[in-house]
Symmetry: C2
Subunit: 699 residues, 2 copies
């Protein structure tokens, strides 16, 4: 039957998911890939067979080199060269620091946007750099042969040392920025050589309102209407860098059904997690985390509502918590989705089957899954204690806990300390305690009360922690007594204790210190056991990573490592809320959404966008979605077509994409990009920046 | 703390649900209402205390009378009077028959829309009428006292007879259209007296594309962009009906946070269902129903793809199946939502507690829940047999089944027949068999094969039905043999069998008839047992309905009865897909959605809407959502503010509203209305209908 009409019909009744899944199954069979591991391919292992079988597209090495050399990693994000004169395209949210730094007391470019009218007006970005990946070398054998001992700890040391010397040797001999990248949790090692450009200047940035229209509520979602774009220029020796490796601009931009590639630096994924690890996240860790966020949010909202000053004081923390809440809810939703978990289960069965089929692999890796599962079970039993046996719920109690623990931890060798006191963290904690801190007594009391109520609900009645802390009193009474009785709010009281060390702490009659002293042994016991369990999981997880590589080789892309990857995908609508989410949004939609919320914050149009509405072609595509495999770090990645022309700019994923952290699916999860046509339309009609639009469109 | 800012923040992270729930709990406590039963209030029991406590609004009797008399029930829908000259406002989808009837060979008003430029051009609608509710009388005591016997069947007869005589007596004495309405499954009876207007004429209807923009995919969803509006005029004695009871038009229309009322005729709800009944729907009935739809859809899509003619032949059936699929999926999603089921459970516990607390009530009603639960358990065990022991999967096999059953059923007294042969249905079945039918052999074979595969998967291997039908052969082979071997496709073959009665059927060597004969005893056995179980559930459900009334009185609105109700609600955004669905959409959004899908069907703008874009104020609100409690039958209901001014017109619910059939919730479920401002804007700028807009806006 006619395929596209079948698809359209299927989408209508939500059967698209089924269909796509079966199409993928066919693909996977044909080309040997496991879709669930996603498509974050490294440039030294492009899946040419799979691309050819799926899209009828098999790029040559020149295409791959050109594409790699036309992109650049920047701090925390990705970017691409988009003109012969070194124009660099990335997201507005990747350029905030630079935009703020370029602002003056009279002009806040974050608010007003910025357009350089000439090279001379382009503003240097302190601390900004761009890394262009020149070459990749497989150094797995060199690393392996350098590891000669059998003791695990000694192995780590040998490995770290050979990695450092390879990196240094490379940097010295090439003058390049070299990095040793560990793939498949140690299954493979590569040497990445980058050319670093340190002179990066701000060319154009829209208003924050245009870049982040819809703000926090619309963040992580689609349909979207954001011009999340910034243009830099790479300079070399004080002049715009001249280059042959840049992406030209597509005349049309992304079209529905089109094959597109995203090149960027995905930061981190957890696709190697075993079922047991995912179940732990689903059943234990994430629910606890969400409950914790809710507790904090409830208090902070009350606090923020007290006055305008309080609103400003807590606004950021509230938004950050809400953001975390949204992200973790999204992960959890994915893990709760039986169809997603069924895929993971099927893959794990296949994977373990392959290992079991080879006695050597089985001997080396076969036990890892069960070890992880058993360890996670013990962790789950410890979870409530881990959540509450400590100094949570109040910053003052947290300080007290650190004051009580510092002397003992300082006496230990670094490797035996609790994680939060290792390395420079011990000193940092100490200076924090000694520094200026302002406490909000009301908030302290509310959060501590909420925390103790939660502890009461989670722990058995006769729990030692509850007996120690509450001792028959109500959470309200305990929190009130501690917060009103302590002198730790005074800097001097804290420094006396820290400087007095163990004897001062032991002698203190401050009720908060007394409480921390009572909690400390309980807390230490749990923390130490958890550390042991974590180490056990971590060692087995490493084996699983190596087993993946042993069983599938490079046919599965490794977990994200914030190094350059190329991901294939298709521009594609998806089923949403009983109907269909379109593959693109338009400028009509931007004005629609602003009106729909009566122009309330954060759906406020920047003034220029209001004034110039009639000059815009409102049918211009603004954002679009595709099935490319991205995650944090990919922000600012170019979206290109098979001619290596820019058709868009990655800036987010939809809410359905959050579970892709663990398993790649493309039934409803989508990358969200700015459409290339919107960038040109806005440059020309809103920002009077024909100079830049012309440069982008020059062939 | 500031309430509205708290709300806004909460919405952002999806906590609104929690908040609203607790607000409702407070309301419920204060006013004695149970929110889960919804707000479909009858006009003789308006919840004045609850409205006052919740909104600070307590309408007087004059307001209530005015509002009731300004609305009218029309066939299958609701409507309201909106001018002193009898203009009647309803949905386009409630007026389709009239619009088609008014069309001529030269002008298809369904496609082009229709505007009468004068009274003279207004076109009569054959079969259309409008019922205005004049009065309500509680006749529970009259009914009860007429029931003097104790045998249940005789009780039913006595009740039916008194109901009929009350109705007839009323109609004769008043010349009104009288109806006896049974509330709370027999807990209360009322006599409703309506004035019926038979001369209803078409005044204005937009193009089908404007009324149903987004078509089937967007149906049942929100955000929406539909001008689902039609205006009739009520005539009396050949002239426009003059009336004081009509709604004036609001100058502003629905605003966010505003209290609004919906007056209309909700058709049917199942809020009295017990937990056991809902679990049966969730675990047994709906999954089986959905699987059945999928089986049919799969075949019909293949069939429709064979040729353009086949596409037209099957298009409607496909869309109807998809619609049913969407609706049942929505119900199921609600029943699978633990938070929704928890509410039902809590209510049932409260309800049963109240009954148990009163020995008399307990004796009368207390056993009903357990009887239902036990019966449903047996039904669940029978479910697979019920699904497959029969003549499903092929129209020819269905015909064969009827041919085999007809002689026996015809011999039985009506009340002992299977439901599908009772009353006039026996003759109808007979004429269908004797009439012209055209069979699609390929579809027949595919559906029968699919049905037999499903039966194989659902029934145990040694099942008698499977043994009878398959007898070791594959579904493909059986279907092929039956469909290609039967002569039932010929009208003559069928009539010979029907007219020959039992002997002819018994003697037939047609393979399809032979198969139907073999299936028949199995099928009858299951059908008879299911009928007994259904009757048991039904009798107990009636007791539960009466118990509700005994325990809560009129403080709970009765289930929907397609009689006038008034529902309170608030215009309100809601959390959706990680962000917020706005309370309204605008005309910008209409153009946006058309562009987003590149103007593909069904997101096609009507030509006039394309041409006149620049004349419209695109910021005009188009649709909006509110928390009013509606269901099928409410289509065309006015949405009014506390001044009894029209602010909108109900035309749908969002997808989240589907589970409201069983439990009313307002965290994310919403009614969807056309905004009053859109109607005026479109009349004036698109349809050149100032005559009508002026009439609507006249005070």
């Amino acid at each position: 039957m006619n395929r596209s009409s079948y698809r359209q019909l299927a989408a209508v009744v939500g059967l698209a998911a089924m269909l796509t899944a079966s199409t993928q199954a066919i693909r996977a069979q044909e080309t040997g890939f496991v879709k669930e591991f996603g498509t974050m391919w490294t440039f030294d292992a492009p899946p040419l067979e799979y691309w050819d079988a799926t899209y009828g597209f098999r790029p040559d090495q020149a295409w791959l080199d050109h594409v790699r050399l036309s992109t650049a990693r920047i701090p925390g994000c990705s970017s691409s060269l988009v003109s012969a004169d070194g124009l660099l395209l990335t997201n507005h949210h990747c350029a905030r620091r630079c935009i703020s730094a370029a602002s003056t007391p009279d002009s806040n470019y974050q608010e007003t946007g910025f357009v350089a009218r000439s090279f001379g007006e382009e503003k240097q970005c302190p601390g900004m750099y761009a890394d262009q990946l020149l070459s990749i070398e497989d150094i797995t054998d060199r690393i392996r042969s350098a590891v000669t001992v059998s003791d695990p700890a000694a192995q780590v040391e040998q490995r770290d040392s050979i990695m450092a010397s390879i990196r240094n040797e490379c940097s010295e001999s090439t003058r390049l920025n070299c990095q040793v990248v560990r793939f498949y949790q140690g299954g493979m090692y590569s040497l990445y050589r980058y050319k670093r450009f340190n002179d990066v200047r701000l060319v154009m940035a829209p208003e924050g309102q245009a870049a982040f229209f819809g703000g926090d509520p619309d963040n992580f979602t689609y349909p979207r209407y954001d011009l999340d774009v910034t243009l830099f220029r790479v300079y070399e020796d004080g002049a715009p860098r001249q280059t042959d490796h840049f992406f030209t601009w597509s005349d049309y931009g992304a079209a529905e059904g089109e094959l597109v590639f995203v090149i960027g630096n995905p930061g981190s994924t957890g696709r190697l997690l075993t079922m047991a690890q995912m179940e732990y996240l689903r059943d234990v860790q994430y629910p606890a985390q969400l409950a914790g966020y809710e507790r904090q949010l409830e208090v902070l909202r009350v606090a923020a509502a007290r006055s305008e000053e309080d609103r400003r004081r807590y606004e950021n923390r509230i938004f950050m918590l809400e953001n975390s809440y949204k992200a973790v809810s999204g992960y959890l939703r994915g893990l709760l989705d039986p169809s997603i978990m069924a895929k993971k289960e099927a893959f794990e069965a296949d994977f373990r089957g392959r290992i079991a089929a080879d006695p050597e692999l089985q001997a080396k890796y076969g036990a890892a899954w069960d070890v992880i599962a058993e360890t996670q079970q013990e962790r789950a039993k410890l979870a409530a204690k881990q959540s509450f046996y400590g100094f949570g719920g109040s910053e003052l109690l947290g300080m007290a806990g650190s004051i009580v623990q510092l002397p003992g931890q300082a006496r230990l060798p670094d490797s035996l300390r609790l994680a939060q006191y290792r390395g420079e963290r011990l000193d940092r904690t100490r200076s924090q305690i000694l520094g200026q801190v302002s406490f909000d007594t009301q908030v302290e009391q509310m959060t501590l009360t909420a925390q103790l109520h939660a502890a009461k609900a989670a722990l058995p009645e006769d729990d030692p922690f509850l007996r120690t802390v509450l001792n028959g009193r109500t959470p309200e009474a305990v929190a009130e007594a501690l917060i009103s009785g302590t002198r730790l709010g005074e800097q001097e009281a804290r420094s006396t204790l820290v400087e007095g060390g163990s004897p001062a702490v032991a002698a203190s009659d401050d009720p908060m210190i007394a409480m921390a002293r009572a909690i400390n042994p309980l807390s230490l016991e749990v923390a130490e056991r958890v550390a042991v369990l974590d180490a056990t999981v971590s060692a087995s997880a490493e084996l699983v990573g190596q087993a993946i590589f042993a069983a599938y080789g490079k046919s599965l892309p490794p977990d994200a490592t914030f190094t350059p990857r190329i991901s294939d995908g298709v521009v594609k609508r998806y089923p949403m809320n009983g109907t269909v989410a379109p593959y693109k949004t338009t400028m009509y939609g931007l004005y629609a959404r602003a009106e729909e919320f009566d122009h309330q914050d954060p759906w406020v149009l920047a003034p220029r966008w209001k004034e110039r509405r009639d000059q815009l072609d409102l049918a211009t595509p603004l954002n679009f979605v595709s099935t490319n495999d991205i995650i944090g770090g990919n922000s600012g990645s170019p979206v290109i077509n098979r001619n290596a022309e820019v058709v868009g700019l990655i800036f987010d994923g939809n809410i359905e994409m959050l579970p892709n952290r663990f398993i790649y699916t493309d039934e409803v999860s989508r990358s969200v990009s700015v459409h290339s046509a919107a960038i040109i339309e806005a440059l020309r009609k809103i920002y009077d920046a024909d100079r830049i639009a012309d440069e982008l469109q020059r062939k």
